[in-house]
């Protein structure tokens, strides 16, 4: 294993030091491992806090800034943050209008955010929570951990962020987050495993002519292994899975997301196929993102996330955003 790191223990703090040096608009609390907007809290605005394991960059710290998150809590690589971080961040962004926790649905994330939310409540911070669970590769059921949260997190963070910026109350922002999540679906495909620094080697081995279908964002194997295939076919597998779960129509926001090790030129190849698929179904790719947004370290592969737009959602998506990794309109 070769990585651009100083030691497997210090990856996350070293990277946070880099973020602090690179982004004067951010304030990085290295001791507590929280990344804030420089001017947090914004009085009267709902504070948005998200977090999760590291290794998914730019998620979440790359989305801290005007029009999106107020703070992010990066855990260790692929390990959800501890409650302390979330409690600290929640205090730090509470401008009197309460705090929204945006949580991807993983057992660890949910438990740690819940524990933090309880302490916040005890300590007088009003907390709402949006749970993101958009991954159609996982069958939802009462008896399981439920669907994973993946790409839709970016949509939820962007749109709730835009709404919070208007001064909307916590309940409304939380409800909007739930609505965005409900209208979004994702599916991921891996061409290679990633290598977790502390593990020192690839999480799984994949033959030279095999891919993993229905992967998450933690370098875990997918639901099934399949023969490698042209981009057109892999895209169709992903889009069919999405479409079967949430019929695609009307204007949609679509993200073709790289898993970290896939060149942008390939993501555009996939996007061309996604756009063609959508048109075939009578849907319109009205807004789009192509690039690395929710990654799995150095994994090669892609995920596609679709959100059925409404006028309100389109407006919130188009609203100005000023973060390290998403930036437009101001």
């Amino acid at each position: 294993m070769k990585k651009l790191i100083n030691s497997t223990d210090s990856v996350v703090t070293d990277a946070l030091a880099g973020m602090a040096a690179a982004h004067p608009d951010l304030r990085v609390d290295l001791a507590h491992k929280v990344v804030y907007r420089r001017a947090a809290p914004t009085p009267g605005k709902v504070g948005l806090v998200s977090g999760g394991g590291s290794g998914h960059e730019p998620l979440h710290a790359g989305f801290v800034g005007h029009g999106m998150l107020d703070a992010a809590c990066p855990g260790e690589i692929f390990t959800s943050p501890v409650p302390d971080q979330v409690i600290e961040a929640s205090h730090g962004v509470d401008g009197g209008a309460g705090v929204l926790h945006i949580v991807k649905n993983y057992t660890g994330d949910v438990m740690n955010f819940e524990m933090a939310a309880e302490v916040c409540a005890e300590e007088g911070v009003e907390v709402g929570t949006v749970l993101v669970n958009d991954d159609v590769a996982v069958k939802d059921s009462l008896y399981t951990a439920g669907r994973r949260g993946t790409g839709a997190t970016v949509f939820v963070e962007k749109m709730t962020g835009a709404l919070a910026e208007t001064g909307a109350p916590l309940g409304e922002v939380a409800k909007l987050g739930g609505r965005v999540n409900a209208r979004s679906r994702s599916f991921g495909v891996a061409l290679s495993s990633c290598t977790v620094p502390a593990a020192g080697g690839p999480t799984f081995d994949l033959g030279d002519a095999e891919v993993e279908l229905g992967i998450g964002i933690h370098g875990e194997p997918g639901r099934t292994r399949a023969p490698a295939a042209p981009a057109r076919e892999l895209t169709r597998v992903a889009m069919d899975a999405v479409h079967d779960d949430l019929p695609l129509s009307g204007e949609v926001l679509v993200m073709v997301n790289g898993m970290g090790g896939t060149p942008l030129v390939e993501l555009y190849v996939v996007f061309a196929e996604v756009a063609a698929y959508l048109r075939e179904k009578g849907a319109v790719p009205a807004r789009s993102l192509v690039g690395n947004y929710v990654t799995s370290l150095d994994m090669q592969g892609f995920s596609v996330t679709v959100c059925l737009l409404t006028d309100q959602l389109t407006q919130l998506w188009d609203a100005p955003v000023q973060t390290p990794s998403l930036r437009w309109g101001r």
Binding site: T79, Y106, T107, G108, R223
Partner: protein, 243 residues
């Protein structure tokens, strides 16, 4: 068993986790995200530091500090879950010292940092000079409470392929042996054997909770990493008892 015994148990667990770290991570790579060994090792390293800094004087305080530290340092699924096990056990043993064996009040997951305002510091023993010991029956009650805490927090049943599959039978075996009047050695042997059997029995199961559940049928054929780390807890318990 006094604070020294419980400190020894936790430190022995920390050693076993450090030694088993790569194996646990490899188990997690197969059906999870390749961090379970790293997570627990980070947590128990912090626990050792916390114990040698605070030097808690009662069995309850040792375990409460252990649990709190795990929650504060581990993250992921195993942090809150193991943290809850130790915090619940600590609460029972602290109560046992005051009131004899029994269920402590209101220390569900909701109360992991209670009492409010106390931050995460463990309660100080009322009189550090007083030598506090607990019985095997207290310990059995503590494990029952720990298990109940994990069940409530994680919602897993036995057979869901989680740490519960080792913790539940081990707790049952331990309680049973205590009720049957066995001595510490035999009690801990029984618990360890049951934990091992439970962990091995996770191999053919399909996961229904935690990250491994996303794999569906592909989770079959692998030992659950959390069940494997639970075995280390019981092996350390026997070792601490001079096993």
């Amino acid at each position: 068993m006094d604070a020294r015994f419980f400190t020894a148990w936790v430190e022995e667990t920390a050693r076993a986790v450090a030694a088993g770290r790569d194996r646990l991570t490899r188990l997690d790579a197969a059906i999870g995200d390749a961090d379970h060994g790293t997570n627990l090792d980070r947590g128990f390293t912090a626990v050792r530091e916390a114990l040698s800094a605070a030097f808690p004087g009662t069995p309850g305080a040792v375990l409460t500090l252990t649990g709190t530290t795990l929650i504060r340092k581990v993250g992921g699924a195993s942090g809150p879950l193991y943290g809850t096990v130790f915090r619940r056990m600590g609460a029972v043993l602290t109560a046992a010292r005051r009131e004899g064996p029994g269920e402590p009040a209101g220390h569900g997951p909701a109360g992991w940092s209670s009492p409010p305002g106390a931050g995460y510091r463990p309660e100080a023993p009322e009189d550090p000079e007083e030598e506090v010991t607990v019985t095997l029956a207290d310990l059995a009650a503590a494990f029952e409470a720990g298990l109940a805490g994990v069940r409530k927090l994680g919602g897993a049943q036995e057979g869901d392929k989680t740490m519960v599959d080792a913790l539940a039978p081990a707790t049952r075996a331990l309680s049973g042996a205590v009720r049957a009047g066995r001595g510490a050695r035999e009690v801990f042997d029984a618990a360890l054997a049951a934990a091992r059997e439970g962990a091995v029995a996770t191999v053919p199961l399909m996961a229904r909770k935690g990250r491994a559940s996303y794999l569906g049928e592909r989770s079959i054929g692998h030992e659950d990493p959390g069940a494997a780390s639970t075995v280390l807890l019981f092996a350390a318990l026997r070792a601490a008892a001079g096993g």
